[in-house]
Symmetry: C2
Subunit: 382 residues, 2 copies
Amino acid sequence: MFNYIIVGSGFAGSVIAERIANVLNKKVLVIEKRSHIGGNCYDYRNKDGIIIHKYGPHLFHTNYKEVFDYLSNFTDWRIYYHKVLAFIDGKKVPIPFNFNSMDILFPEILSKKLQEKLLKKYPYGAKVPILKLKKENDKDLKFLADFVYEKIFKNYTIKQWGKRPEEIDSEVTARVPVCIGRDDRYFDDKYQALPEEGYTKIFERMLSHPNIKLMLNTDFKEIMKVDLKGKKIYFLGQEFKGKVIFTGMIDELFAYKFGMLPYRSLDLHLEVIEKEYFQEVAVVNYPNDYDFTRITEFKHIHPIKTNRTVILKEYPKDYDPERDIPYYPFFDKAAREVYAKYQELAERFDHLILVGRLAEYRYYDMDDVIKRSLEVFEERIR
Amino acid sequence: MFNYIIVGSGFAGSVIAERIANVLNKKVLVIEKRSHIGGNCYDYRNKDGIIIHKYGPHLFHTNYKEVFDYLSNFTDWRIYYHKVLAFIDGKKVPIPFNFNSMDILFPEILSKKLQEKLLKKYPYGAKVPILKLKKENDKDLKFLADFVYEKIFKNYTIKQWGKRPEEIDSEVTARVPVCIGRDDRYFDDKYQALPEEGYTKIFERMLSHPNIKLMLNTDFKEIMKVDLKGKKIYFLGQEFKGKVIFTGMIDELFAYKFGMLPYRSLDLHLEVIEKEYFQEVAVVNYPNDYDFTRITEFKHIHPIKTNRTVILKEYPKDYDPERDIPYYPFFDKAAREVYAKYQELAERFDHLILVGRLAEYRYYDMDDVIKRSLEVFEERIR
Ligand SMILES: Cc1cc2nc3c(=O)[nH]c(=O)nc-3n(C[C@H](O)[C@H](O)[C@H](O)COP(=O)(O)OP(=O)(O)OC[C@H]3O[C@@H](n4cnc5c(N)ncnc54)[C@H](O)[C@@H]3O)c2cc1C
Ligand SMILES: Cc1cc2nc3c(=O)[nH]c(=O)nc-3n(C[C@H](O)[C@H](O)[C@H](O)COP(=O)(O)OP(=O)(O)OC[C@H]3O[C@@H](n4cnc5c(N)ncnc54)[C@H](O)[C@@H]3O)c2cc1C
């Protein structure tokens, strides 16, 4: 009937399904608990034609040529350079924090002095993590580091993760740099572009193959059973002998046997505003004010002429498995240890493959997930 | 696992799935061979935000209060009165053909005379089928009947069905009336309105219930077997003991045992036009010119402010099972006889229920299908 079962239709599940269908010409069943495909990258058009990213803004950027080429099979692109402003001391300044930001926030003499010192110490165009800057033995650079730390990083991080900055894994903190220069772009990847008609169209094209059967609105637990002792997987009451590719939460797959992995979630508030534009760029961060971390205005991401606009406010919160979507893995040391146990258990299942942000419990961007899925297909499925 | 299996996610399948899930609180699997829900009523927004009816224009109109009330659970409405013009002798005139149409097409004296005669014979507001008019013993009315027959009905019918008018079942020809009055509305039903956000949203709301599992991209034949001898239905290799509700083609269900039922199909040509509007109303019929029967402009159905517009031309053709969608059952006497055989066979299956335009091989409008589905649910499922 089916040679493969895939749980989840985000990029991990959809890429692997597409490869199996097209390259191997085998039949695959994709099981998805939501009523739509695309996982967290799902988008749709509202009644004004504005494309809205249902689960928060998704900007595609990558240095992987193979990922860009692969996706180009399923979409045309519109070149787009993402810009983010942060609302600091009543002004909106570019981040990553750079010379333009200094010019807006600091008196001219201070800004000039800082720029001279930075240019002496670092090559033009470098991105210096604020944790590194903080340790410099220079009064002014230390001021700068503290300023950026206090005004841009600290409170944002507290809001985002609900913890003190010290408690946060360095993989996360390393994300916040100061840039030596005037490049206002948020990313520096070689390929930065948006799918012309949004992400959902990509998923539709990947999955609309006669070899792919798609089961929506279905939690895998409703039709599959995992036999932890016998290391077998049952589908509709019968042992499933084909490969199972699982892209959901690894702890849920194993019935939380070793406890729950921690995640951070979001409350997302969408607002329609009766004017042409609400803000200057796609995303404005609010580190110190309000309870939301940022406001996204979708018309900047997918331009369209309308009299109305739509914005999204993100309110981070802890993940409640009863109600919430697990947006961000929260990997401290304890979590990593629990994850390792699950991973070891997974390896003892013969035909089980775990791929993706939830299944691998990693901070994958879209391009990482696609790259990883293509690799897994080549190495373990093909 | 599932208590019910439904084949097809048009109105027939979706209404019954919704009822089973909400009223009976039982689990149901919906199998749909297309990559989307909604059957022929499916619509989507293009990149300008224009709602497009993928399988031809669908206008909701009904006299059944219970159907209108039921659908109101899943959508808000926008009041809309459908108007159709026919391109006749170089002019666009309202149809059903009425006094306004006569005033546009005929010299004033002729038009006045015709109107006086019609008003003497029929009550104001009446709709007189052209076949009836044709038989009147009055030179002028006969002229009118012949005119409408020749210019509006005949060639349209030949295009639409690929046959001579005489060969067409009267159920179809009776559809073309002359209206005694100046009411330009195409329908005269009590409830005429459009779902505010289109039809697909209705289906999404009907089907997004945890009891409903939705399997897209899946032909029932891929996972079900019909045992014609034993009168049993198998699902994934095992006998399925629950009820099966089938809304696809009855002849396909029974492997064309008694031959194929005839259908008429359409080639649909969508065009994007770089101006604000293309035509005056939602639908313009072309009985005598070109090869298409009509042009639909979707912006008139779901109004939106954009600089571009989208039109759809419909080219009728015979149904080829390899390539086409069976849009219209073509029921002549022979077809009805074949259908009767299938129906009799269906009745010999204990748990099989056939509902909908294809399964019952009937010219159901949306409201008919919904009414029928609600009845079938009450009488045979509840
Ligand atoms: C707020 C936010 C913003 C982001 N912004 C960016 C960005 O700008 N750029 C970027 O590159 N990346 C971004 N990402 C990351 C991106 O979303 C992920 O890389 C990508 O979605 C991972 O794909 P996936 O298939 O691994 O997981 P997902 O997209 O989460 O897909 C997993 C799928 O599995 C399904 N599933 C889970 N459990 C079950 C179950 N029990 N039964 C059946 N189905 C199940 C889920 O419903 C889901 O559809 C962002 C992430 C978030 C949360
Ligand atoms: C061009 C056109 C215009 C119309 N305009 C109007 C209008 O203006 N107003 C109005 O009220 N009505 C209109 N109708 C009628 C309306 O479309 C139908 O009443 C309605 O779609 C019937 O619903 P249904 O569920 O019976 O069938 P469908 O909508 O045809 O749904 C049947 C579903 O079953 C699926 N299916 C079929 N075979 C299989 C299989 N082997 N395996 C799995 N799935 C299968 C199909 O893919 C489809 O999704 C129009 C119809 C057409 C063709």
